[in-house]
Symmetry: C2
Subunit: 504 residues, 2 copies
């Protein structure tokens, strides 16, 4: 990054300004979720709107396009893997995307979504699909309009998917999702026919301070750097990259739900380790970010599920947990605890779903997004379609729309299209990456069983974190695993783990 | 504010954008002092610099000048006291000030001050005046250069004073300061000849949590609105107006210094009540601010000293304090406690000074600023001049420069000129305003003695807070008290209070 091509240098100055404004937006949102007093909400929206406008103006300024054009002859001679080439590729992509969408459209979309969100917050508790239907219809039509600004697509969902996962398309994803569903549905059916494991040990009373001190100990030991980050409490856990040296995660503690606090924390820590591990020289450039929504999700799910629900992990940590919660866990064996945190029981609600059935919620939404965009499913038919599909996949019928089609905020505060796929691609990748790490460092398993995480953490830093946004998801998968995206490791992982747990 | 002159409306749109950026800067600084992890410091400086640059560009944009010019015929027909007229006056003033100073000069000044500050942080502990001398000399020359951008002054310090206290001048302030010094020096000399009251009751061990819960109770009862503000901990207490509904104060708890925690908190609360009491319609305009540095200081000192060190106040609160700290205060009477928090003992350090001798520190600095700017005192002669003046005023000679001329950060991270007067004008005003309130509501004293603050708080809201920055300091004093600035009430207050305490 230190070559002093003067145009490149000038471009970086502009990018650094844009990144600073984006960092400010991250802080404004973090503060809004964590510390903002109620009285500051209206002014906060305005502060965010002003910064968003400034960032947009700076990114779409003609000088950016001119510098990118003028740098083409420089770019062509750079090695593909160089940071400079990566920065120019990513900047070009962001610039092209930003200039293609007229500000007036963005304003119209955002005004509509803000109304739509308001209506949804009332309609969901009232179980009132009719109230949101006209809003969803307008959202669908605006989503199509949005996609049309990027006319070179094979399927209309592609540009919307591309916003979160550059280079991903329906054609690339659909076969994996179909195969995963084909495997999961009968497995879940088999599991449902067996007696439920007793997970009551997770729902005793676990005081907040003790839970917090336990999770802080764990994330510190795994490698979260409190000198370059924070952990705070918030009603909804999230993670926020303000700068590479200022990465903030939040935790929600539920006194009567031990695993929720713990697994949520490992999830956000997964995002946070990624951001803390970005190459420091990327600061002030768009490379200082995760590769994509799917890749950062894979890092969250790796720690939350693959590690955080594993026997290896609890082999070391369960005695420590028992020591803290003697009264509550004294009579609960490691095996009982392990089975409790891996209990499979289809839930009506996606975000409460177990590891096994979670993807079916996602694939359902992904399929519906395509059908809605393609016009093969009408908004008014959504509730019925949701019920049918849910019955087919999970074996249960949602009793109402509140806990059925109305449950997810995504279509009410965002477009229809591209909203869900990253959750499941993230799951698939979490295992594909983990297998690659284990191939190279088989000692990882033994380390984890002894509360050591450096082999895995270092491997992730070296192969994933440090590259930031330099490579697309597909490029990164190829580099890291030597293969393209594959679902085999994930299915093998689920089959092995739950086969053993449920004698499948 | 609701008249829809379209030019006025357009001006307000620009001002709202500027105010939003300024609010973001306040949040960035608040976060930096309260929650920023070490690793985020470098990026934070850049974030602040980008926002400062944006705010400056927006305020000095030609459109602002044009709108102000085009609005002159509209402005001339507005009543002077109308919010619109106030907004146009204040905006014109801010705009004129901003455009007169070339950005290159500001950059030069700020680069120099940042070096000067670094040098000072090492030189002060090393007692090394020679190290800072060349930096101070350059600061002095830059301070003169700064003043020259505003050539219509009587004395060169005037424009620098005007930055913090619009309309204030050396000519207006100097006679008050001279008179105050003439009165204070012999009073302090008399007090020094008497035995020191025993204030050891303040320096026992008072656990942090109990101190915090006490001060929170007090500020809540006085009227700090936690729905529209926050209180956090920070190494240096400060207050921050992010928006009228988001006013944040910080507290530093010292376990072995009860009065410090308490009085610091009341001080910041005084600033905070002011900001929470701004007229809500001023949000998004430069009127949403205190009238001046002096007026906001008067509000801080009113609660910290005039109320917070009074018999009336502790008549109600001392039994409550004793109930919390039974072991520590059981054997300490109210009278002993009252005398302890009002102990007069000249200190080498301004910020540790008692209520009585504090102003002498300020007047000394104010006089030196004038002499330095006027060229009647050379930077190299400062240490000796400081020692002589200190001896004359306080009767003691500072043993070194560290706790003498090097003690205050102001000349090392800011210009020389205008840095100190607001502290003493604030003290003078705290009593002038309080007397006006008491004239109108004599019941205030009795209320305070019963832990009630609404008569005083409401009077302050109505007469001071709600007007924000609409009036200059002098205008506000005239409106609130029916008189111009006068020092009599303040001197009478000090003479009565300390005359009784020390049998003067």
């Amino acid at each position: 990054m230190l070559m002093e091509n003067p145009l490149f240098h000038e471009l970086k100055k502009h990018l650094s300004e844009i990144k600073s404004i984006e960092a400010v937006m991250m802080l404004l949102v973090w503060d809004q979720q964590v510390y903002l007093p109620n009285g500051g909400a209206v002014a906060r929206s305005r502060q965010l709107a002003v910064q968003a406008q400034l960032a947009h103006e700076k990114l779409t300024a003609p000088i950016i396009g001119k510098l990118l054009d003028d740098l083409q002859s420089y770019q062509i001679n750079l090695p593909y893997d160089s940071d400079e080439a990566g920065l120019l590729r990513v900047t070009r992509r962001l610039y092209e995307k930003a200039v293609k969408v007229p500000p007036a459209f963005k304003a119209r979309l955002s005004a509509h979504l803000s109304k739509s969100y308001q209506v949804w917050t009332l309609a969901r508790p009232a179980n009132d699909f009719a109230a949101v239907q006209p809003y969803l219809e307008k959202t669908l039509s605006l989503s199509r309009e949005y996609a049309h600004f990027f006319p070179d697509y094979a399927l209309i969902a592609d540009p919307l998917i591309d916003f979160k996962d550059t280079g991903m398309t329906v054609a690339a994803i659909r076969p994996f999702f179909a195969e995963l569903r084909r495997q999961l549905v009968p497995m879940i059916k088999d599991i449902r026919e067996q007696p439920l494991p007793d997970n009551s040990c997770l729902y005793r009373t676990f005081p907040t301070a003790a839970q917090l001190s336990f999770v802080r100990e764990v994330i510190k030991n795994i490698g979260f750097d409190f000198e370059r980050g924070r952990q705070d409490l918030s009603p909804h856990p999230f993670e926020s990259l303000i700068s590479i040296g200022d990465v903030r995660m939040t935790t929600r503690v539920q006194e009567n739900d031990l695993s929720q606090t713990f697994l949520d924390t490992l999830h956000e820590m997964g995002h946070a380790l990624y951001d803390q591990g970005l190459y420091p020289d990327f600061e002030g450039t768009p490379l200082a970010d995760s590769a994509s929504a799917s890749v950062t999700e894979s890092q969250a799910r790796l720690w939350e599920n693959v590690i955080g629900r594993s026997r290896y992990f609890w082999n070391y940590y369960y005695p420590k947990l028992q020591a803290i919660f003697q009264e509550q866990l004294n009579s609960t064996s490691l095996e009982t605890f392990y089975r409790a945190i891996n209990k499979v029981q289809p839930s009506l609600i996606r975000i409460d779903a177990d590891e096994m059935s979670y993807d079916l919620h996602v694939i359902l939404r992904f399929d519906f997004e395509l059908q809605l965009l393609e016009g093969t499913l009408a908004v008014r038919d959504l509730p019925e379609a949701y019920r049918e599909r849910f019955k087919a996949d999970f074996g249960i019928t949602p009793p109402d729309n509140r806990d059925g089609v109305l449950q997810d905020v995504h279509w009410f505060d965002g477009v229809i299209g591209g909203q869900f796929q990253s959750y499941t691609i993230g799951n698939i990748l979490s295992v594909q990456f983990y297998e690659a790490a284990l191939r190279e460092h088989p000692e990882i398993l033994d380390e984890i069983a002894h509360g050591e995480f450096s082999a895995l953490h270092n491997w992730l830093k070296e192969h994933i974190y440090r590259h930031g946004r330099k490579y697309t998801t597909m490029e990164l998968i190829q580099r890291v695993t030597g293969k393209s995206l594959t679902i085999e490791p994930y299915i093998r992982y689920l089959r092995t783990k739950y086969g053993e747990l449920y004698n499948l």
